[in-house]
């Protein structure tokens, strides 16, 4: 009786065990099933519901650009407050080698744009960056009191007069700077790639048809009426309506502050 009972339980247990081994054992049916299901999953298309969202962050510009812009503003402010006129100052950060002839680091394609706009007796600076370089970085907007922008460009006469007075024979002729109401600086990829300066009111030309024309080495000039001038550059002519050639900008580098050169700093660090 007891043996019968034992067989009654043991045989089904053994059968169950065999079935379990057949199904789940190494290489068993369950493994095959797993493999099969995995294959189906791999073959099935990836389904997702709901469009991917794009989320914005606050528009910003690279730190290196911001440092250079801050130094540019500080330099302009020093020149504005200086009592000197017909003088020079450099805004390029000391010890920086940007790998360009510009006083600014490469502002990058779709990167940073610096815009100065004269508004009455002050000039507003707007910075664009962020997505596509097309968002205003409101944090960096600044009004510079007393700053009237100008350029050493605009006509052959202006640039040549400037050249003659400060880099040539020292002759004082006619106008040697051009007051303007707007200046934009950004990286241009049309033509020669590089930092470019644009004066919208000049129209198609001068200045605006030149690529990589902001090889200013960081120099600014304070004119007779207190305007602060940027130096657009050209690639060919010594001095024409597009500005000075880069070689002449280098002359400013070597002459400013040298006794007898006639090129003075607007501000010295002992002041």
């Amino acid at each position: 009786m007891a043996v019968n009972k034992l067989v009654y339980y043991i045989i089904p247990l053994i059968v169950l065990g065999l079935i379990a081994w057949w199904q789940f054992g190494f290489g068993g049916l369950f493994e095959n099933l797993k493999g099969g299901v995995k294959g189906v999953i791999e073959m099935a298309p990836n389904v997702s519901i709901g469009a991917e969202e794009e989320l914005a962050t606050e528009p910003t510009i690279p730190r290196e650009h911001e440092e250079a812009i801050n130094n540019l503003v500080e330099t302009i402010e020093k020149m504005v407050t200086s009592p000197k006129k017909n003088c020079f100052l450099n805004y390029k950060l000391l010890g920086k080698n940007y790998g360009t002839n510009s006083g600014m680091p490469s502002l990058g394609e779709g990167g940073t744009t610096i815009s100065f706009q004269l508004k009455g007796d002050k000039t507003e600076m707007l910075i664009a960056g962020g997505a596509g370089g097309k968002q205003e970085v409101t944090r960096l907007r600044k009004e510079i009191a007393g700053f009237k922008p100008c350029v050493i460009a605009g006509s052959n006469e202006i640039t040549k007069n400037f050249f003659n007075r400060y880099l040539g024979q020292g002759q004082i002729l006619g106008d040697n700077y051009k007051p303007v109401s707007i200046i934009n600086i950004f990286y241009d990829t049309d033509g020669d790639n590089g930092n470019a300066i644009r004066v919208p009111e000049f129209g198609n030309e001068p200045v605006n048809d030149e690529g990589d024309n902001f090889e200013d080495e960081g120099w600014l000039f304070k004119a007779e009426d207190g305007s602060i001038c940027f130096f657009p550059t050209n690639k060919v002519m010594s001095a024409d309506d597009d500005g000075l050639v880069y070689g002449n900008i280098n002359q400013i580098n070597t002459k400013v502050g040298v006794v007898g050169s006639g090129l003075d700093y607007c501000y010295t660090w002992t002041e």
């Binding site: 097309k134 968002q135 990829t189 049309d190 605006n208």
Partner: protein, 289 residues
């Protein structure tokens, strides 16, 4: 006699009540249209399905229609109304979160680069006369808080505070260095959808031989036939208008490179630009297309 008096009283009351009701209905209709549009856009985004190589299939329709509005008031009221419309247009299109909302819409005949949320007629008033101009709308957008979002200006709201990256572009008549808003003018406020590839719409018209001179972190578009100088206000649009190339200000980038979702305000006084704009941007009731 009493009957006549009663009738007149009833008629006057009817006219007064009807006026109030119609005005209420009209305002309600605009609000309803805005909410319906926003809900449909959100639903379209939420029900978008990616199925294997079929990416981003959007099944739910967009139910937006252009809303016509009249604006009357002093300069500040006009600025606020326009700014609110711009912010609501941004909100209606899910604050720029969802890519390819419009480009995936069939049946728009290629006019799916953007959608005109509002046409607004700025009417003359005693505080905003025909000779007056609003010259500082960009400053308003930059400095004034958007009431529906704490500590956020209108510009911040559209650029980044909520949703995806955005920008504002305004093409306005020029006075001095500024783009201006004047009374008795119509404006369109549109959502222009981001598209990374270059697309030469509108710029071809702007190129059409006209002198193109940039002013004010901005672009003056002096068209040969339109007669109206228009200015794209760069103070708000940032780098776009500030850019320049090849002798002309690179206004093409303003229109060609739709690499950022944009809220655009367009003064409708120049037919040439408006016609080109309408070839590319849908206006009306999308659901009926």
């Amino acid at each position: 006699m009493g009957f006549v008096v009663t009738m007149i009283t009833v008629l006057i009351a009817f006219v007064l009540i009807a006026g109030v009701v119609f005005r209420f209905m009209s305002e309600t209709e605009s609000k309803e249209a805005e909410i319906l549009c926003q809900n449909s856009v959100v639903l379209r985004a939420a029900t978008s399905v990616s199925l294997g190589s079929l990416e981003d299939v959007k099944a739910a329709p967009i139910l937006c229609k252009t809303i016509d509005q009249k604006i009357k008031g002093n300069k500040n009221e006009v600025k606020k109304e326009l700014a609110d419309m711009m912010a609501r247009c941004w909100w209606m299109f899910n604050e720029g979160r969802t890519p390819n909302l419009l480009s995936s819409l069939p049946g728009l005949g290629g006019k799916n680069k953007g959608f005109v949320c509002y046409t607004a007629i700025v009417e003359e008033s005693k505080d905003f006369k025909g000779s007056d101009s609003i010259t500082d709308f960009d400053v308003f957008l930059r400095d004034k808080s958007y009431p529906k979002m704490k500590n956020t200006t209108y510009l911040q709201y559209i650029q980044y505070r909520s949703g995806g990256p955005g920008r504002i572009t305004m093409i306005l008549p020029q006075e001095g260095n500024s783009g201006v808003i004047k009374p008795n003018r119509a404006f369109e406020i549109a959502f222009i959808e981001k598209k990374s590839d270059s697309n030469a719409w509108i710029s071809t018209v702007l190129m059409g031989g006209g002198a193109v001179v940039g002013v004010a972190g901005a672009i003056v578009l002096a068209l040969p036939t339109g007669g109206t100088s228009l200015i794209a206000v760069g103070a708000v649009i940032g780098g776009v208008a500030l850019a320049g190339t090849g002798g002309v200000i690179e206004y093409q980038k303003l229109f060609e490179e739709r690499d950022v979702n944009t809220i655009m305000v367009l003064d409708m006084s120049n037919n040439e630009i408006v016609n080109e704009f309408h070839k590319n941007v849908f206006m009306g009731d999308i659901a009926s297309e």
